[in-house]
Symmetry: C3
Subunit: 325 residues, 3 copies
Amino acid sequence: MTPLQLTPDGRLRHLLTLDGLPEPILQQIFSLADSFLEVSERAVKKVPLLRGKSVFNIFFENSTRTRTTFEIAAARLSADVVNLNIATSSTAKGESLLDTIDNLCAMMADMFVIRHAASGAPVRIAQHLAERGLDHVRVLNAGDGRHAHPTQGLLDMYTIRHYKKEFTRLTVAVVGDVLHSRVARSEIAALTTLGVPEVRVAGPKTLLPKALGELGVQVTHDLDEALDGVDVIMMLRLQNERMHGSFIATTAEYHECWGLTPERLKRAKPDAIVMHPGPMNRGVEIASSVADGPQAVILPQVTFGIAIRMAVFTLLAGVAPGGLA
Amino acid sequence: MTPLQLTPDGRLRHLLTLDGLPEPILQQIFSLADSFLEVSERAVKKVPLLRGKSVFNIFFENSTRTRTTFEIAAARLSADVVNLNIATSSTAKGESLLDTIDNLCAMMADMFVIRHAASGAPVRIAQHLAERGLDHVRVLNAGDGRHAHPTQGLLDMYTIRHYKKEFTRLTVAVVGDVLHSRVARSEIAALTTLGVPEVRVAGPKTLLPKALGELGVQVTHDLDEALDGVDVIMMLRLQNERMHGSFIATTAEYHECWGLTPERLKRAKPDAIVMHPGPMNRGVEIASSVADGPQAVILPQVTFGIAIRMAVFTLLAGVAPGGLA
Amino acid sequence: MTPLQLTPDGRLRHLLTLDGLPEPILQQIFSLADSFLEVSERAVKKVPLLRGKSVFNIFFENSTRTRTTFEIAAARLSADVVNLNIATSSTAKGESLLDTIDNLCAMMADMFVIRHAASGAPVRIAQHLAERGLDHVRVLNAGDGRHAHPTQGLLDMYTIRHYKKEFTRLTVAVVGDVLHSRVARSEIAALTTLGVPEVRVAGPKTLLPKALGELGVQVTHDLDEALDGVDVIMMLRLQNERMHGSFIATTAEYHECWGLTPERLKRAKPDAIVMHPGPMNRGVEIASSVADGPQAVILPQVTFGIAIRMAVFTLLAGVAPGGLA
């Protein structure tokens, strides 16, 4: 938890991490998302809450899918959205990250959505804004290195809340490539905050970080054991593109040991839900028949993700509707 | 003709191909385009018909020009438009085409504009939407492989209608690289539907597909013969970028035999119009003096193209104005 | 000065260069910018002056930063903005620059913002529009080769006006890589028009053009001499990316001789302001402590740049508010 993300009176200023974010703020975001879920079902999917605000999607790491979710959420709130793919552009002229941020602030930016390959980049930006006295400019972490992906964690919790109603009697399994996964870190933090009594983390030894035990989760290297009687299965994407060493033998072998198949799924409770942050590697970490099966809630996760991002945008901008914010 | 593109009561659901599309629907699109032509001439070129609708321009094949026409048409209808260049992005993470589509549907997409190098990709997407029960999401084919480019065919017909008033007494020549041309396929289908009595298709033997005769057109390998007394000349772009074999000797030689020059143009009727889908290879399939001459209607084709795309958007979205849709 | 950029009755039609642009037009732009500066400080940073207008940002040279300033300025005026990165797209299909322009005009473009590596490209486009009788379509030069960058020159003058109130008693130093700088050309032209009595241009011999004397400026190859008692220091970016020959030995050596350090800055007047067009090479042409110091007005330049671009957009579009245009 960074102190930067809350104002002195305890409201959300930036969304940088779910680690240490108080439960009332999570619940506030969920309540807001409830109302925005309805907006996306209207014939005219648009409300004017962010009209005349300038939102910058700054992606130092390419991700069309994630950028699209933020772009759509901001557009449905009537914001002006500018996409910057920095990976291939201004840094080529040698400008530093913080000079880029300063420049966009001078253009009267209201909000930065930041995706960066380096853990901590959004926190560094938030610190810089504080040092510069630019407290009205907000930072939304859209995924930084192996550190955090808080909107993904929030939409995952919102999905669980939708299907399971409450958190305090659940057993949840987080399965796969935890080592490279900022998603897993955000999920574990939020599950803990929301009072989930049993979180099991499962993956091959090469793909689990060493300090997992400190997080209060149960660690196992056996998938069947991890799935036994669980309510929720959160599969992780095999991050092929982040693997520079030889963490796994082959994807076929990975599927053999760690892929979620219909047979393995039977070990979970009959009404267990199956989640995945996408994009899926079908036939690797998840069998197609499970991904498309009746227990999968992978597409509802995406739908909820738009509502969650709309909720976070309005909360950060101080324009959340009703008496909520 | 795919049954997918019409609803059971005969209205346009998707625009996938002009092959088999009934004449009343073509006429309905033309009438709508008449009204939208006027919108683009206003000081404020904007109507709220698609406000709050989410249109995704998904280009698996790069085409700034075509993407721009759809982007402008959607913006003038007040839609929220998101551009996705998939060629270079999400597929890099190994997600399948249909998973991408499912995800965007979960974001409450209203319409997909699809450009794809593979023939049949938009049809496959429409089938998938039907299987998933997502009948309210619409597909607009912006060019697939060598198969179809229906909005180009429609704007070409609209151009002929504008200059020649009716179709049933015309002689039309389609000239050039028919083999690689989805435009030619869409043009020939629509000319047939609209009752053009004589369609001549001309090109070098290496650039004409073998099954042309079945389409009810006259085939010739002599340009002068093809142009003799025609009302409309539809030149095709030499698709250099699609030619992997040695279909032609040199572009100079191609111009010599198949380029539309002022001399050759004299063989057509004095009031014949010259069309080209763009982008032109000046000095290859068309002489500059013809492209810029008084008989060329190449730029009006572009203007009409915006109106046609606005018409198709509103028709698919079920928001066409007046008593038309 | 090109006659193209003014209408017969002396109003601004295109913004191509500041060379020869009359002082009353500069003052008109400054007055308009005053009013737009306030718009960017509102909670709802948006006015409907360009609603329903189609603005095309055509960047033949990649520049995320400059494109963003125009995109934000147009969005705050409610225009429909389409970005085209032509460098990597349609020219690949062999279409000429003027064919691209003709096509976008046929789509009913209202304004082109042009960035091009070739000096004179925007002028050529303006000539072409005149030849085609398309006088209502406007061209805004966003930087062409080594020729001009007029909006940068305008925002620089607006910055000086803001801090120094008037121009006719100032001494201004322009320092650095003048040879490759379109910014310097635009600055010198505007400083002259606005009656600055003493403009000093300083840089290493290899980075100063030969014909500088003809512009009525003082030329020096000694930085200390150039800074002595000046009111305004306009640093130029070392255009590493434009240097194909060996103009300088090393960037460290450049900093030693030509970098603006705190020590050197003491030679200027105590209230002298330090400007830079960005992006900065910290530690090369400017020391970080100067860039972040109390005399630097580099970020205000960016803020003023949005207001200046909004002013130019409305003036060109003939929709400038009040009795000003």
